[in-house]
Assembly symmetry: C5
Homo-oligomer: 258 residues x 5
């Protein structure tokens, strides 16, 4: 259920950075912990994001981010197998028999689609309703992606602002030369935080969600196609054929590289 | 009425920066106040913006910026409820009875639309007039957005110019080494101002107004649809159904995450 | 006639920079004057621009730049008033009477259009000819804009090249430490010149001309519409109505903010 | 079979960098080898890429990268000669005789196409199937290209993060001035690694694959055209003429420069 | 024949840089000559370009670059005069008489077009063939432009890599402070080379070729139009009129600025 790649990526990235720090002669993890830097980078970037987007979109952003940590549910191949079974049931016991099937389906989008077919809703109407809902889901995810992308811009900007603060203070008090080094060290930590937040967290998550969003649209388009096919009374192999158009042709051949 | 997110964002961002400054050992707020830096960053960026845009667009920019600090007025859900009521009145007492309703409506765009319907203007004509006005409103807001975005480019550029000035003066007088630090500190304050103006103020406001502008267009499109529906004598539930196309389908189901 | 905003912007920007310099303790205007820096930044950027564009486009660039310093001539509101008058004359004394009117018109585009109408040229033909000429004018201005934008890229690049030259020379002769500061000061002046040329001059002018070009296209489209209307014998109020489509609806209402 | 340009480019680039290092007075290759830098740059960039893309796309990336090291197989000119021969065979011995030809063809895409023609599949169907497969191949390659481009963004970012780590540690321990230089040297190696990974490896490979992808699409379009032509029973010279449309006209004349 | 603007631009730019160097007090041209820097910047950027593009495109790049140093051949105005003459000849002596004219024409594209007209090729066919050839020429030039643009990205990147090498070596050997300056001076020369290659050579040439390519397309479109007109037996003034559509209207009026 958990998307291991995302977890391994983030913790692996932090691990490599930590090992890199440990391997640097004379290093000390305390150099890299600075509450003031956290406040400026994270606080500032969050505040700028808060200005940018309506509150209700920001409340949704967590639910979108969570998606990047979850393995995608719908496998196109399994979906086709399921639809063959639905087509079998519909042929044998009539389309009303699909009512029972919806109990086991976990994707609410698919449940709604099947229910509409069972209810005998007009096909054109089903298609319009499902496509509208698909667009709405995509739009909500896109808002989450835009928020992450904007955060990825603000985080290094506030990292730089924090470093400027450190430099200004340090240079303003250049009476005690022994403090120059440590002060600059602290100043640069802010840029370091900004870069990690942007390049290890926000940008990769935003890109992953973009890839996911495109895949989800494809799977949901397959569902719509399948439900249309079910309702028109197609036999199982026709249902399968119509849904396969969305898949790569002959995946087994794909192994032979062309 | 006030958009708290914008206020909290700007003041929160300034607060985090101020706390960050306070937490930096040996810091002093006076290091961060420098009239010369204000003149160069703000004055220079304003002047470049003055060259870029016609004066009449610049006079409008304040009115557009103010929108980013105001909670949006029109709530789509409430709008549909209102239109159901208008449809009820129109059905019971004739469309002329809507005249009285316009007294309570505060959005001048909607008032104008209802008035046109009451006056029995040709439907096609109403649609053309309202869409033209919508485009004009959008265009005016877009001009404000473009001004903010351009200012967000100029501010850090003049921040850098100010820092260059400081460096040139400091290096040109490198006879008294004890003054290097403070002079550079002052020089860097200009870059600091430019970064804050761009990343905490101009960019987030421009992005927020862009998001707002798209939402406003949607709401005003709903109004046009509703007025068309009212005028054609639709009953309340048809008016509602026609306007709901613009909304996300089944928002209550949206809670179940798909 | 002179566009005050452009002049105030450029001189205001230079003024703020000059004041900023004056307010920097220990500064000296001579630090900011360096013939070598002028040669590298301006000479280099001009030469790169010379390579980029055909000579005949470069000869035109001054005439395009001049436009940024001139108040736009055609006021849409006044244009409509004028056309009402032309329509009046055409109605009373026939379209040939417009011949005399062209004496007082200063926009050669409009003169040509009116002349074509007076000559009884085929309406379709007038429209094609005027639109072709409009496209040509736009294209010529766009070339000027592209030249300014390219110059705005080259100027800071050569500013950086000049600073690199200064650094290389200074570091190559690091025997006399007392000269480091002044030498670096000179080196950085080149970057300073490049930034001002790009951010206070070339970029704002290019953006202003882009805004202007769009406005001019609108006004000239209004003229074409008006001439078409005149020639088809429309009465003054129809001419006015047809031209007003290009204007914002009910500008007086615009004051009430929506 | 091996694409010499890619190999010469990468090893040549490394060679020039190595020579440049050798020619720098007082250099030592050990300065440029630092395990901590490798871990941060390579490890970090790989981890961020791991977050960004689904695992199955990442497993494919090697097969796509390999393509950049292989000379492209299909030469358009040779392809036309082959198709003339196929057309000859089909004319003499019937289209079924092409069955034997497919033994010698190495491109599985072409084999599949010829087989479909031999099997007497409906022409429209062949075209749809082959174009779908072509789109799928292109899409798979595009995913590899997107991964490389994203890696080219992450590599210098983690290079910078590694340099920040080195700077923070070094400045935090500024008690022993004799160690400043070597510590900074190590810090900068990370940026050096990031720049090489991005500008000598990932970016050029991604760009090459983009160019290749476009060429491959052209060749495969030619194959589809050729198979369509074969199946409709065209004579060899018509097959050739139809396929030549995809080639540059009169390549021999191309020598004369116009 | 030689495009003076390109030559003056490149040599002028180098001249201003040389003068700038001379005017810098204490400079020495030897500071700016460093074989190691040449190898890294030029060698590295060429190698990355070698990876990026197919060898056959790289072999063509010189022929495309040469175009930037040649005055464009076809003058639209002269072309129209020529076509009037051709139309005269065709009217008087029949279209076959144009055979002799092709002797004096130097543009192979035009020769081919006229020959096709003389041969009595089907007009539609001529148009298809000439437009295909035009697209091919444009595509070949575009490849050269893409190579230059990519080189303009790689050159400063390898300039930076060279500077990093210099810094790493210098800081790694910080035992002899007297050598810091000269070593850094050498390091920065690499960035200097990269900037000049990109901003004075590759970028301006790529942009110039883009402008040229668009102009050439226009002229060749005029030729196609002219040949079509010749073949359909139009009289000289009709040929002229049809070709003039591609020109700016009334260039003599253009002088009066609008």
């Amino acid at each position: 259920m958990v998307d291991l790649a995302t977890l391994i990526g983030i913790f692996g990235g932090l691990f490599f950075i930590a090992v890199g720090i440990t391997m640097t002669p004379g290093s000390d993890f305390r150099f890299f912990l600075n509450p003031a830097s956290v406040m400026i980078t994270l606080g500032g970037a969050v505040c700028s994001t808060l200005i940018t987007f309506p509150l209700r979109d920001l409340r949704n952003v967590w639910r979108v981010i969570v998606l990047a940590f979850r393995e995608e549910r719908a496998k196109p191949a399994k979906l086709i197998v399921d639809f063959r079974r639905y087509a079998d049931i519909a042929r044998r016991d009539g389309i009303l028999a699909l009512e029972s099937v919806t109990q086991d389906v976990r994707d609410p989008f698919l449940v709604r689609g099947l229910q509409l077919a069972v209810d005998g809703t007009d096909p054109e109407m089903i298609q319009t309703m499902m496509r509208t809902e698909l667009e709405y889901i995509q739009e909500r995810h896109n808002r989450g992606i835009r928020i992450l992308k904007q955060f990825a811009i603000y985080a290094p900007a506030f990292g730089m602002i924090g470093t400027l603060i450190g430099l200004i203070v340090m240079l303003g008090k250049l009476h005690d030369p022994s403090r120059i080094g440590p002060a600059m060290s602290v100043a640069i930590v802010t840029t370091f935080y900004g870069a990690i937040l942007s390049y290890l967290v926000a940008t990769p998550l935003a890109e992953k969600l973009t890839v996911r969003n495109n895949e989800e649209a494809l799977v949901k388009e397959m569902m719509i196609k399948g439900i249309m096919s079910l309702q028109s009374g197609d036999n199982p192999s026709i249902v399968e054929q119509k849904m396969k158009i969305f898949l790569s042709p002959k995946p087994q051949e794909g192994r032979r590289w062309e």
